[in-house]
């Protein structure tokens, strides 16, 4: 399993065909981080489109430009769906922005339990 350690994220493709991204503790996600993450996912997926689980629990903040990038309005989504793992108050706020103001092109759902997120994401796995 290849893992990418980025400035603000750790990203890898799981054996269950789900792309995992964990936001690092107190990370302030900027546009450069967002693009870096997209490139890492692209590189790891090798042409395949995976559903993605993003663990936002440790995030500190995210800039408008990064949110716009993740909302995928002006680009092809590299993933089929996004499950956002939220527990901390900050992650709950950010998660909800991706359901409304920064709504993504692909289906997005918020979860507090990882197992439930994985079950939901599996339906978007392309065989």
């Amino acid at each position: 399993m290849r893992k990418k350690e980025l400035r603000a994220f750790t990203t890898w493709i799981g054996e269950n065909d789900i792309c995992y991204t964990v936001v690092k503790s107190n990370a302030v996600v900027e546009i450069a981080d967002a693009v870096e993450n997209t490139n890492a996912v692209k590189d790891l997926s090798d042409g395949k489109v995976y559903p993605m689980l993003v663990n936002l629990n440790e995030i500190k903040s995210i800039t408008k430009e990064a949110r716009d990038h993740f909302s995928m309005k002006n680009r092809e989504p590299g993933v089929s769906a996004i499950g956002l793992l939220i527990k901390s108050p900050a992650s709950t706020i950010i998660g909800n922005f991706f359901l409304g103001l920064n709504k993504s092109k692909v289906p997005v759902k918020l979860f507090t339990v990882e197992a439930k997120a994985v079950t939901w994401l599996k339906q978007f796995s392309k065989k």
Partner: protein
């Protein structure tokens, strides 16, 4: 006493999350009970000081976040609420406020861009209409036949009437409504200059009690053209052979019932009067045909009174606005 103290300590522990107790870690043995109580009270005092400090800090953060919200409400997005590494609810609140501010700023900018664009469009339309009017003017200089020259002038006036609507629109605050009362005043000035009228012979009277009435472009353009035709008609035909006279313009909002009302636009003159054989519903005059057509466009009705000169009354519904 010790039981009561224990209760207090329990409550304080629950509040602060810190384990506080009056009981010493090891059995007191020969230690004086009073000393233990004193010790406990000291700890309690320390805890209360911490709580007080926390309260002051919370209050400061709330004030700071409120200042940011106020600043956003004033469309000033320079301030940002502080987010610490503590991952507290205050940090989440600050983050949420900052993010909402960013989204608000982005939408305000795009709204401003739209306004600028709309202003530019109205400006360009007005300029283009003025260019057309100037071209007609240049062409008319070569025309010798008086009736053809008049046709050119009429067309020019119609174009100018529409250009003035666009001019008023880009000067208006919200770019979609114009104050028709203000328009009327500017329009009359424009018309008087165009016909080169001697104010000592033909006096224009605008009802000064007219209050501001705001129209969208869909109503403003037909109304401006109707006004142009009716006033031109009076200028051209009501006062032949240097006859002196007056033109009256009245415009108001008339209440029909409690819930329904309509606009009333009246152009009257004390001139020679319109020929009795002229039927405004069936006329060869382009001007009157236009008045009839444009009145239908704003779902209005025309009434013509031929007593003591000519009085056109047009009523049209407010709902169109």
């Amino acid at each position: 006493m010790s039981k009561e103290l224990d209760e207090i300590y329990k409550k304080v522990s629950a509040l602060t999350g810190e384990k506080v107790s009056a009981k010493p870690a090891r059995p007191a043995g020969g230690v004086d009970k009073k000393k233990a109580i004193l010790n406990g009270l000291k700890k309690l005092d320390n805890t209360l000081t911490i709580i007080k400090k926390q309260e002051i800090e919370n209050s400061k953060r709330i004030d700071e976040i409120l200042k940011v919200v106020i600043s956003f409400a004033n469309l000033n997005y320079d301030k940002k609420a502080l987010i610490t590494n503590k991952k507290s609810h205050f940090d989440a609140l600050a983050l949420g406020i900052n993010m909402l501010g960013e989204e608000l700023e982005a939408s305000t900018i795009s709204l401003h861009e739209k306004e600028v664009l709309l202003k530019e469009i109205h400006h360009r339309v007005k300029n283009n209409l003025q260019v057309i009017s100037s071209l007609l003017n240049l062409q008319s200089e070569k025309i010798k036949q008086p009736d053809l020259l008049e046709t050119f002038m009429e067309s020019q006036n119609r174009i100018r009437a529409m250009a003035l609507v666009h001019e008023k629109l880009y000067q208006s605050k919200n770019l979609s409504l114009i104050d028709f009362t203000e328009y009327v005043h500017s329009f009359i000035n424009q018309m008087s200059n165009s016909y080169n009228l001697d104010p000592s012979k033909i006096k224009m009277h605008i009802d000064e009690s007219i209050r501001p009435h705001f129209f969208k472009i869909d109503t403003a353009i037909p109304c401006s053209l109707i006004l142009n035709e009716l006033i031109s008609n009076s200028y051209k035909y009501a006062f032949p052979k240097n006859r002196k006279g007056n033109i009256y313009l009245h415009f108001e909002l008339e209440k029909e019932t409690k819930n329904t009302s309509h606009y009333l636009l009246q152009v009257a003159d004390d001139g020679v009067g319109i020929a009795p054989e002229i039927d405004i519903k069936n006329t060869s005059s382009l001007g009157l045909q236009l008045v009839d057509l444009l009145t239908s466009q704003i779902e209005g009705k025309i009434d013509l009174d031929r007593k003591n000169g000519t009085k056109f009354t047009i009523r049209f519904p407010v709902e169109k606005n």
